[in-house]
């Protein structure tokens, strides 16, 4: 009997334990009721504990968040540095393209303004820098119409002349090579001489020979081709006088010329194949020319002016 009662009691407890929460849930599932006194007591007791724990957890969490932020900032910093480096490279590339564009536009302008000149554009593909010579190799040759002796110019001025020609390439000897000789004149005074390349120690440079002791030569004077020998057209920019000294007793002044062309950075050039027609070709657009030369270049070759190019 007691056993049966015991079993029944157990079943009753089990039933109650299942039913009570189920009823409570059914009552609260759809409509949330206010906390009863027991719940209020539990919540009141747990509230300070939760507050204290929340404070501790919050402090840890904040520290962790700051740590994560610091890590994030570091990663962001690295990323920004990489972006900056990339942008710097892109900026340099853009600058290079801009310069190339400028060079090509100037070369194009030379071609456009000289319809009487037959020219071919070429690219410098190699440079021969031996202790004895200064040459560059172009990607155009005999099949493109290039002949030996043809003058070569860049957007800045005279480069040199073609020395050897192959079918698809040609070799240009630069002005700084001692094998080159060009008749030149000073744009300001009209004094004439012969420009020779050569080495002074380790440095390749250009000198003007054949000037008279009485010639008016000043540092900074523009040097241009005189066109006398008929090899180079007249009024092509060569460079500027960088040193002018007249030693006592010497028959001619020592004149060094700083070339306008940067021979270490040659890229695109024009090779002059021939000149048909009369008058001097215009090698540099007037707006890009130095003031003293723009005046000289636009005048006729047969009408020498005082102090100008004859």
């Amino acid at each position: 009997m007691f056993e049966v009662l015991g079993k029944n009691q157990t079943l009753a407890v089990v039933g109650l334990v299942i039913l009570v929460p189920l009823v409570v849930y059914r009552a609260n599932a759809r409509q949330v009721s206010d906390a009863n006194p027991l719940e209020k007591l539990v919540l009141t007791l747990t509230s300070p504990i939760e507050r204290a724990l929340s404070f501790g957890v919050g402090a840890v969490s904040d520290t962790y968040a700051h740590y994560v932020d610091a890590i994030g900032a570091r990663a962001e910093n690295i990323e920004l540095r990489q972006k900056m480096r990339k942008m710097s490279v892109e900026s340099e590339r853009a600058r290079g393209l801009e310069l190339e564009n400028f060079r090509l536009r100037r070369l194009l302008a030379i071609e456009d303004q000289n319809p009487t000149l037959t020219m071919v554009a070429a690219k410098v593909v190699a440079a021969g820098r031996s202790p004895f010579s200064r040459t560059v190799r172009l990607d155009r040759g005999q099949l493109d119409g290039i002949v030996r002796g043809a003058p070569v110019l860049s957007e800045s001025g005279l480069v040199g002349r073609v020395q050897r020609v192959a079918f698809r390439s040609s070799e240009v000897v630069l002005l700084t090579d001692e094998r080159v000789s060009v008749d030149v004149a000073l744009a300001r005074s009209g004094a004439r001489g012969r420009l020779r390349g050569g080495r002074s120690g380790e440095v390749f440079g250009i000198k003007i020979r054949g000037l008279l002791r009485t010639d008016d030569v000043r540092v900074g004077d523009l040097v241009v081709t005189s066109g006398l020998a008929g090899i180079f057209p007249r009024a092509m920019v060569v460079g500027r006088v960088s040193r002018a000294e007249t030693n006592p007793g010497a028959q001619e002044p020592q004149v060094d010329v700083a070339p306008e062309v940067d021979f270490d950075r040659l890229d695109d050039v024009l090779v002059i194949l021939g000149h048909k027609g009369e008058g001097d070709p215009v090698f540099t657009p007037p707006e890009l020319l130095p003031p003293e030369l723009s005046h000289a270049q636009t005048s006729s070759a047969t009408e020498p002016r005082d102090g100008g190019i004859p």
């Binding site: 089990v14 299942i18 009570v20 949330v32 539990v42 504990i49 919050g58």
Partner: protein
């Protein structure tokens, strides 16, 4: 006395869990681990009553509808008590597997109770989606929680013995 200590531990643990969950987007798992302890270590009636208390405290401290976890844990307790009474063990692997099983069963029972007795708004997909993280956390914390409960039990059992001896 040891049951009161156990409930005190539950209140503390659930408060801590609530404080943690305010900062971390994780599901609550501790109450299921306490249920596992009850399933393995308490007799039927005591265990059922304590499961009800744990569930009710969970409802209070985790903000679910009153009676929801109470119902779920009582049902889960009865459901798991029978198989649990046929196996014995208390090693880490046993407890860990048990915790995974209790968590899984509680989740499915919770969905069933909500569908049958509640508003029925939950989706099984959502429940199953949250389950892997719940299982992972249960597996990680199961044995430490179980050992803590055992230690507390041992502590208060010895005191009860002392009182009995004195009495």
């Amino acid at each position: 006395m040891k049951n009161a200590a156990f409930l005190g531990l539950v209140v503390l643990a659930l408060s801590l869990e609530g404080a943690l969950l305010a900062h971390l987007p994780l599901p609550a798992v501790l109450s299921a681990l306490f249920l596992l302890f009850l399933v393995l270590e308490r007799p039927l009636v005591h265990g059922a009553l304590l499961a009800f208390c744990v569930g009710y405290l969970s409802d209070l401290l985790l903000g679910t509808s009153r009676g929801f976890f109470a119902t779920v844990y009582v049902l889960a307790f009865f459901l798991l008590r029978l198989p649990a009474s046929r196996v014995s063990g208390g090693g880490p692997l046993f407890v860990t597997l048990g915790a995974a099983f209790v968590t899984f069963a509680s989740a499915l029972l919770g969905f069933t109770v909500e569908q049958l007795a509640g508003p029925g708004h939950s989706h099984l997909g959502d429940v199953l989606l949250a389950l892997p993280v719940q299982l992972l956390l249960s597996v990680v914390f199961a044995y430490p929680v179980f050992k803590l409960c055992l230690r507390l039990d041992a502590q208060f059992s010895s005191r009860e013995d002392d009182f009995a001896f004195r009495g």
